[in-house]
């Protein structure tokens, strides 16, 4: 018996805009105006909601008007939607949150609570 853990976006409506904001910031579009010009595919309100989600999860930061994205987001982008198979027996429901937390930490994420704010994990 194996356990499979999969991470999904909590805000499915915003997954594209959150990713787009992260990529844009990494490529140097770090101010409000630059972001809006670089991402005309997205509405202002969805960019705003995405930033809100990232700030709430402590995955984005503003310093002197310059936006930056937490390096954890690179790991988040990698793990999203891809099932992680664990060589352990199926766990009880009560043990699932603990398992999820330990997996996020062992994946190298520095802000596991923030990741859990953005992502929802299903354990089967």
């Amino acid at each position: 018996m194996k356990t499979e853990i999969t991470f999904h976006w909590r805000k499915r409506n915003l997954k594209e805009s959150i990713l787009a904001v992260c990529y844009a910031v990494r490529l140097g579009y770090t101010s409000r105006d630059q972001l809006l010009c670089a991402l005309p595919q997205f509405s202002k309100s969805r960019i705003l909601l995405s930033l809100d989600a990232l700030f709430s999860a402590n995955m984005a930061d503003v310093n002197m008007g310059v936006l930056s994205i937490n390096s954890d987001m690179a790991i988040v982008e990698e793990i999203i939607g891809k099932p992680i198979v664990l060589p352990i027996p199926v766990v009880e429901d009560e043990a699932k949150p603990k398992l999820i937390r330990s997996i996020t930490i062992k994946l190298g994420l520095n802000n596991p609570a923030g990741v859990e704010t953005l992502l929802k994990a299903t354990v089967n």
């Binding site: 409506n13 997954k15 990713l19 595919q41």
Partner: protein, 615 residues
């Protein structure tokens, strides 16, 4: 506060048989669940019904944009005329009668409504307007602008009834322009059951509106029409807008745009082209102020992160089913329903009819007939209006429509036309020994009527040709309308063989398909010469068929058979004159005309004389 203080009209709670809107919503839910069961093999159709159920439940629970819509619809559906309108369940299903609210409950409801009203007052959509924006409303005798004023002044709900050719599209455009003038940031949804109605409204808006309006407009996903009034219309299609934003992004941030194009979810690939993904459309919808979409596709553009609309305009609302217009109403603060309940109600496919048959007769009838007419009747005068000047039909056709379907309330704008064909009468024949359908349930195809129509078209074409040698003649549009699909096919086949395209643009279709369109000349083929005439008995169907015509209507059928049916609307049509009577040489099956050939007769009987007879 008493009800009488809230509404200006003196009102009392209903007496006798009533139709309860909440019960009706429940009936729809029961029916849709049944259709869902019957359509389980067709996933795409199921999605449509599931979506309708979702929105109905949302509305039923009061989770729509404006709770006043629920309150108004429930209140005005609950009033019935003293004589009773035979739409309710009283006496047949007494357990469905709602218990009256207790004083305490009533007080609490009022408190909640007052609190909600205070919150919403800041965003009041009751707008006062002065002068019209479009030139067409300069006629002081025309009441159209007064109704537009009333529609603008209402806060929550308005019903604009627009009989055929009364300028519904123009009114919709005026309402949009006025709303944007008063509230430049207003979000407006233009929706309808059909793509064509949405297309026409947005096309006209692009024609009248300036560049700023055009840039705020978006049609999801694309236009169904191929010929536009405005050259700017086509560019407002969402698919084109999507390309534009990606190109814009590519110009500003090429590397990022390439990365995003590869990383983000893209649409399916069909015919070598990548479709625009749903998330992209939702973002585009957020970015545009005026959105055009059919009722059933509204959900494609909205999710819980989308902003609601300030104004929703539902065109052809009488042709939409209740879930369709409720879906639109759910997403807007203010809703203007534009339509005409004297025209055709929604149509139901085979599976839908099967599902209806499982319901109690009264429920099924109410679902099938729609409730818009009943609500319209009960609405106070401040929340409804009827456009009364028609711009389509010549007066002799317009008068018939007005007298027989609109209590003589229509006035007529046009007085003359630029061609000879202005009759409104019958091409009839003797059907003795000629049974259509041949047997009960047989094919409804009448070759004799096909021949009469094709002969007439050829004759018409030759007359246009003769005239064209003397002066420039425009191509006349001809609608050949019939209630039955088999006859449609036969007519199309026969007409396609004719060489008349240079002078006549002929379209053949069923009555239901023709709603919302018009033509210079209309031929209506009755087809049947025996059996039931129940299909014609619906006066709304005959209203639509005849009112498509601008200048002439030719009714093709056996008058004796139609007379034998003794149906009110058909009897009124029988009072019209006979243009020509066909005789048949049975031995040779050759068709000719007993009286002088039809179009010679036409020229010496101008429509004014016919109008005199009508009066």
């Amino acid at each position: 506060m008493d009800h009488a203080n809230i509404f200006k009209q003196p009102q009392s709670m209903p007496e006798g048989r009533v139709f309860d809107f909440i019960d009706h919503l429940d009936d729809w839910l029961e029916y849709l669940t049944k259709v869902l069961e019957l359509s389980e093999h067709d996933r795409q159709t199921c999605v449509k019904y599931e979506r309708q159920i979702k929105y109905l439940i949302r509305f039923r629970q009061g989770a729509n944009s404006n709770i006043n819509h629920n309150r108004l619809l429930h209140y005005y559906s609950n009033k019935s005329s003293k004589d009773g309108d035979n739409i309710g369940f009283n006496g047949t299903d007494e357990n469905r009668q709602r218990r009256p609210l207790t004083k305490e409950a009533e007080r609490k409801v009022k408190e909640i409504i007052e609190e909600a009203s205070q919150v919403m007052a800041a965003d009041n959509m009751g707008l006062v307007i002065n002068a019209p924006i479009q030139m067409g409303y300069s006629d002081t005798k025309d009441n159209a602008f007064n109704f537009i004023k009333a529609a603008m002044a209402t806060e929550d709900l308005y019903f604009l009834q627009g009989p055929p050719g009364t300028g519904k599209t123009t009114a919709i455009v005026e309402i949009i322009l006025q709303t944007l003038k008063a509230k430049p940031n207003a979000r407006i949804l233009v929706t309808s059951e059909t793509h064509v109605a949405v297309d026409n409204a947005l096309d006209r808006l692009c024609l009248i509106g300036d560049e700023a309006i055009q840039s705020k407009t978006m049609r999801y996903p694309r236009y169904a029409i191929t010929e536009y009034e405005s050259e700017h219309t086509e560019g407002t299609a969402a698919e084109i807008r999507a390309n534009e934003v990606w190109n814009q992004a590519l110009e500003f941030a090429p590397k990022l745009t390439n990365v995003l194009y590869n990383v983000l979810e893209q649409g399916e690939v069909a015919n070598g082209e990548v479709k625009v993904p749903r998330w992209q459309f939702k973002n585009l919808a957020d970015k545009h102020q005026i959105i055009g979409v059919t009722c059933n596709q509204i959900d494609h553009l909205l999710d819980e992160d989308s902003e609601d609309f300030d104004l929703v305009i539902v065109d052809e609302c009488s042709k939409a089913t209740l879930p369709e217009w409720i879906m639109a109403m759910c997403v807007g603060r203010k809703c203007i329903l534009v339509g005409d309940h004297k025209q055709l109600p929604p149509t139901f496919c085979e599976e839908e009819s099967d599902a209806l048959n499982t319901l109690a007769e009264a429920k099924a009838r109410l679902i099938k007939d729609g409730v818009i007419d009943k609500i319209f009747e009960h609405l106070p005068i401040t929340m409804k209006g009827q456009l009364s000047k028609q711009y389509r039909m010549l007066p002799h056709i317009g008068s018939f429509i007005s007298t027989n379907f609109y209590n003589g309330t229509l006035r007529h704008h046009r007085e003359d036309t630029d061609h000879d064909f202005t009759h409104f009468g019958w091409f009839t024949y003797d059907s003795r020994g000629y049974r259509i359908p041949i047997k009960h349930g047989g094919v409804l195809e009448n070759q004799r009527e096909v021949e009469i129509i094709t002969n007439s078209l050829v004759e018409m074409c030759s007359r246009r040709k003769q005239k064209a040698t003397k002066s420039q003649q425009r191509k006349l549009s001809v609608a050949v309308i019939t209630p039955y699909r088999a006859q449609c096919r036969a007519l199309r086949e026969a007409i396609n063989k004719l060489e008349i395209r240079e002078y006549l643009a002929v379209e053949v279709d069923t009555v239901d398909a023709f709603q919302g369109r018009q033509a210079d000349i209309v031929f209506f083929s009755f087809v049947r010469t025996t059996g039931s005439a129940a299909f014609y008995a619906d006066s709304r169907r005959m209203n639509v068929a005849i009112s498509r015509a601008r200048d002439a209507v030719y009714l093709i059928g056996d008058r004796k058979y139609i007379k034998s049916k003794n149906i009110e609307v058909l009897n009124r049509l029988l009072s019209l004159g006979v243009v020509a009577v066909e005789y048949v040489h049975v031995a040779h099956r050759k068709i000719g005309f007993k009286k002088s050939p039809c179009f010679r007769a036409m020229t010496c009987r101008p429509w004014r004389r016919a109008l005199g007879k009508l009066k």
